[in-house]
Symmetry: C4
Subunit: 194 residues, 4 copies
Amino acid sequence: MTKTRMEAFSDGVIAILITIMVLELKAPLTHDWFALIPLIPVFLSYLMSFMYLGIYWNNHHHLLQAVKHVDGRILWANLHLLFWLSLIPFVTAWMGETHFAARPVALYGLVLLLAAVAYYILSRSLIVLHGRDSVLAGAIGRDLKGKASIAIYGMGIALSSVNSWLACALYVLVAVMWLIPDRRIEKTLVRLGS
Amino acid sequence: MTKTRMEAFSDGVIAILITIMVLELKAPLTHDWFALIPLIPVFLSYLMSFMYLGIYWNNHHHLLQAVKHVDGRILWANLHLLFWLSLIPFVTAWMGETHFAARPVALYGLVLLLAAVAYYILSRSLIVLHGRDSVLAGAIGRDLKGKASIAIYGMGIALSSVNSWLACALYVLVAVMWLIPDRRIEKTLVRLGS
Amino acid sequence: MTKTRMEAFSDGVIAILITIMVLELKAPLTHDWFALIPLIPVFLSYLMSFMYLGIYWNNHHHLLQAVKHVDGRILWANLHLLFWLSLIPFVTAWMGETHFAARPVALYGLVLLLAAVAYYILSRSLIVLHGRDSVLAGAIGRDLKGKASIAIYGMGIALSSVNSWLACALYVLVAVMWLIPDRRIEKTLVRLGS
Amino acid sequence: MTKTRMEAFSDGVIAILITIMVLELKAPLTHDWFALIPLIPVFLSYLMSFMYLGIYWNNHHHLLQAVKHVDGRILWANLHLLFWLSLIPFVTAWMGETHFAARPVALYGLVLLLAAVAYYILSRSLIVLHGRDSVLAGAIGRDLKGKASIAIYGMGIALSSVNSWLACALYVLVAVMWLIPDRRIEKTLVRLGS
């Protein structure tokens, strides 16, 4: 089975998710600058989720590059990832509209954590399919970055009831960690001359 | 006529349908956990429809793999399927917001049933186009799973006025039946070395 | 310049248009069958527009098949067509919610007419680019069907103030005329063995 | 890394942005022509943004044609451009609903300016990646048009508090300047016989 349509479908879903979030930024009814102030937390939560969805698209793109073929199991592991990503607009809206209150921030972190677990399952399933000696397995390696992200999300969720801004800072930390795109796969591919 | 654009268009429509359903999950205005309780039925109906649309995308993907060419008739059979799928966000919202009341559950089942009939018509039209001796015809075979699904949806619709949860359990049963992806086509393709 | 991205972009826009219209079908707050009655005109207008957008996608698909290359002029002729198609969700909603009142039906016809003119301009521009002796020019021919559609839309608009259902019947007539997909291009391509 | 998925993702995002803006055109509740009058500014702002997003898609298409490969840096430069474009529906709605008031017109211009800067960064990053002697570098040249656009947006923002229609006229001027598609890349590609 080729990976082309799975890539196209994932691109479609992520493109829609990243775009419909902007519908939460509702145009104010008045035209003064002050009318924009209540939108600031909504904008900030949009910005964070835009970055996260951009990171997921980016890493998905990198991951799939080294993939040679997929099967039904992979299609479902991928849909599982897309499911958690599809909840991002909802938690983004809740977090933005409640001005980063403790519980919405915790739920946001939980969705990020579950998406990270789903990504981990997807990459493991791809390694199982391609073999432990494959380019893909070598490129992903022990995936310390993925495991660290999950741990930091967990800390963020735990801390959200103490200080929700601290939790957000931890989420931003993970984002920054990934903003530097995942060069492992690219490097391995280049090294092997593929 | 190549199948590429028909695949791309179907991927696009299904990706959008699976994603806009999340817009029904409206962010609560307060930030306590209790505010999420009214969203539970909406979330459950979203989860079921996400699985169904995922199954349709998955099986569509499998079906089209064995397809060599399409014609105008196939394009319309495909649009007919997409039409019934496009009503899923509407019936999902009605079912979720009425807390799985009898009539919305029956209508949900009816849309699933009509989508299954449309899928059946699409696969038959493809067999007619490719010939009874084609790989595709061999791979689809008598399509017992497709026919059984239609029968179970019918039972679900009939039972919805007695007990809507029982009807939903039947819909979930069909979903689980299909979650195991349709390996017939994949196996036949592998066997024939194509 | 290749036509691939123009096809992909058009597929994307038409897929979104055909799908977001369903957002007008708002789930009723009560769960009895009567609650669906006010939705019937909205559903009928959705059905008509789904068919029209399906026809446009279909014919666009057929038209582009015979195309070898595009230029900046063609990209704009295509965007011009997409602009008029993008207004279909708006006129569909107005027509459905006003129960097919005279003026919304006239505006619906006007948007269809302008889309048909835009399609005509696109196909003429493609002929100019490919030459009068090209396969494409032979396949489109004098485009009687396209011209007849424009005339019938005009009649529909004129009649809408007399009887809006008669106008709708004319729009349905054009749709049925096109439902039989445009085999001219397909036939010519087959005849020329390309 | 191939550019295919980056093109597909960008096409998806721009197709969605250009389409969801039409959701701001809400169907009037009454069916007389006068009911459309309050929609005129919303329609005009939609028309301008449709043209702008069309121009960006068009130029993005032209730019990527001459590109041979991309890297992680380019993916982020591209997402940066998509971020500013994603705010266009919001500023379009605010500008339309406030009947082109001074501050919304200034914010609209600011988003256009930041999108133009992001496009400039993207094209510069592509030149750095491909080398100063590449076809791409030759085709983009000194990018006077890009720099002039940024200057005119700046003038528009400054003038918006004096006369918002004048500012809009300047934005339209930039659009017209770009409507003539960017033939530099096409010409250079043709000249070099690639």
